[in-house]
């Protein structure tokens, strides 16, 4: 508790449109203290690393932002709306938004914050409280249209600093959008990112999330999505390179008849700990979910997946499938995977499964028997394993990572 109190006391006084959020969140954090292993949601998290995050100063204006990829990749093609989210600046200072994208006014934003169950969730979720306690800027957009250019949100890091970032996207009825988020960590940076998305009635959102860390970088990210009926939300995420990363996709199908696809890939090496804690809540009938989570854990790394699905009485005729497939590439690596289905409705179809194995010896030998070196064969098989998730990424997302280079680090 002392670590949280000290951290909160260091923050500047609550201010601006987010003043109320900051105030409530700081109080919540002081009440919570640091999560402990007794809490199911944090049972496997490396709490020492979590504590180290709170020892970092909040990102400062004069520090250079770092995007840990080839500079040439950063430039977006002309057809993409790219916004770089600096935790202290108005992210739209140097961006002209095209037709269909509109910034929420302070009044609209305040109304949105007050309408939502935000203040309740702050008191229930440590990740949210941490973000709201420290966020000073918020990017809030209302998006409408069917022929919109793809939106790319780039969230760079500051080495040695804690950077909180916050985004709200409201997709109006019948809107169709491709969204790519890139979170880039470096050295001993720490990032807290929170994005709230509303997918309106019959709207469609293809959401790619690339989280590439480096060194001792840490990331705590939550993607909170509310789906209206008839909406279609597809999420594909790649996590690699973080000393500690925790991705929390939380999907709420508000009134049923919506479709959700969640595809996740965690590739870990060294002593990395990568986690996905997903939650899908069906609050109406005839909702659909297709979820596939894959991990490849090598050396002394640790991958965690916790997949919560809630089907209450009202959610009759829900059709949900969750599969967790895991590759344990070293006997020092660790994988924890846990499906968590709570089904009250009786007329539903919910399947789940989990597998953990190493690469298949017969597949390796087959490739070797055709002259392919063991190392190359391993890379080929790993790439094939990852491809099932990577196929869900928009073609523009591939600018941000080279899967061959990434897999070359896996031993």
């Amino acid at each position: 508790m002392a670590a949280c109190r000290q951290w909160v006391e260091y923050l500047p006084p609550p201010d601006g449109v987010l003043e109320k959020c900051q105030r409530i969140s700081r109080q919540a954090l002081m009440n919570f203290g640091l999560p402990t292993h007794e809490l199911e949601a944090w049972r496997l998290t490396d709490l020492n690393r979590l504590k180290e995050i709170l020892n970092l100063p909040i990102s400062a204006k004069d520090n250079e932002l770092k995007i840990k990829t080839n500079e040439s990749f950063v430039k977006a093609p002309n057809n993409i709306v790219q916004i770089i989210i600096d935790p202290l600046k108005n992210p739209l200072e140097s961006t002209n938004l095209p037709t269909g994208f509109k910034v929420l006014s302070s009044k609209e934003l305040q109304e949105k914050l007050d309408q939502s169950k935000l203040y309740d969730s702050i008191n229930e979720n440590w990740t949210i409280a941490l973000n709201h306690a420290s966020t000073e800027q918020i990017l809030a957009l209302k998006i409408e249209g069917k022929e919109l250019p793809p939106l790319e949100l780039v969230i760079p890091s500051q080495a040695g600093f804690f950077s909180p970032t916050r985004v709200i996207l409201l997709l109006e009825k019948n809107t169709k959008l491709d969204l790519l988020q890139v979170v880039s960590g470096s050295e001993n940076s720490a990032q807290s990112h929170l994005i709230d998305i509303e997918v309106g009635q019959d709207a469609e959102l293809q959401h790619n999330f690339i989280a590439l860390g480096g060194g001792q970088a840490s990331l705590l990210a939550q993607i909170a999505v509310n789906q209206m009926n008839g909406s279609n939300y597809s999420f594909a995420a790649l996590q690699h390179g973080w000393a500690l990363s925790r991705l929390e996709p939380r999907i709420n199908q508000l009134n049923g008849k919506a479709k959700t696809k969640l595809k996740g890939l965690q590739i870990s090496n060294g002593k990395q700990q990568l986690a996905t804690h997903s939650s899908v809540q069906f609050n109406g009938p005839e909702g659909q979910l297709e979820q596939l989570q894959k991990t490849a854990a090598s050396e002394s790394s640790h991958c965690i997946f916790n997949g919560e699905i809630n089907v209450p009485q009202i959610a009759q005729k829900t059709n949900a499938a969750q599969l967790s497939r895991n590759l344990l590439l070293s006997n020092r690596a660790r994988i924890d995977t846990k499906p968590e289905l709570e089904i009250v409705a009786d007329d539903v179809r919910c399947t789940h499964g989990a597998t953990i194995s190493n690469l298949q010896e017969e597949e390796l030998f087959y490739l070797q028997s055709r002259g392919i070196k063991a190392e190359t064969a391993t890379s080929l098989l790993l790439k094939a394993y990852c491809q099932e998730i990577l196929n869900n990424f928009h073609v523009d997302a591939s600018r941000w990572f080279d899967i061959n280079n990434l897999l070359a680090r896996i031993k």
Binding site: Y366, R370, G371, L381, K383
Partner: protein
Amino acid sequence: MIRPDSNLILEISNLHASVEDQPILRGVNLKVRAGEIHAVMGRNGSGKSTLSKVIAGHPAYTVTSGSVSFQGKDLLAMEPEERARTGVFLGFQYPVEIPGVSNLEFLRVATNIRRQQTGEEELDTFEFEDLVQTRLQMVQMNPNFLERSVNEGFSGGEKKRNEILQMALLEPIIAILDETDSGLDIDALRVVASGVNQLSKPSTATLLITHYQRLLNEIIPDYVHVMSSGKILRTGGKELAIELEQSGYDWIEQTVTSKEGH
């Protein structure tokens, strides 16, 4: 084609091998010369498939004694991929499905590795597609199978055709075909056999592993070896396969046992 003066390609001497400490091969001796086609027959569990996997270098098998020489080189000292590069090809009894790895790309990579070894120029994507089209005709394989993942969703017959296609592209010095006839109907068997016959050259050799004589009607062997309990019990010509078909494996095992008794 038997030519006593042709080069010795493969020489197996007193080969013993085991899997999980269970001895399977118990002293195999075999010499294969250029231009020859050998058939290895035997009942289930006699060690035929183990012999093929040991030659190809499968990591699950441990050679406990003996030697295998390939063109004068110690084959057992080489990694599986080195064996393939130098010209040893194993046609699998059960070709493995590899989801996510494109068949076309896999064939191109494997072909270029072999070409590097033989001093030929590597083929780019377009050049390789020209080559693969000609080889496809040899095994009458539908080009659509190139677009799929390696062996994924292939029927038993298509998997075997894909094996012979690989053989046609890699142009090995010795091809060991492990029960290539299993799971094939008579038409598919003829197509596969025709492919193998077209690929046989005076400078290469073939080792056919089979249960049944029917394959040997299509690919005429120079030698037939009968294996039992991890050894070659008897060697003869094509007529030995016909005798086996008529009299069964008991006959040959009894013949050998009674000879040993005298």
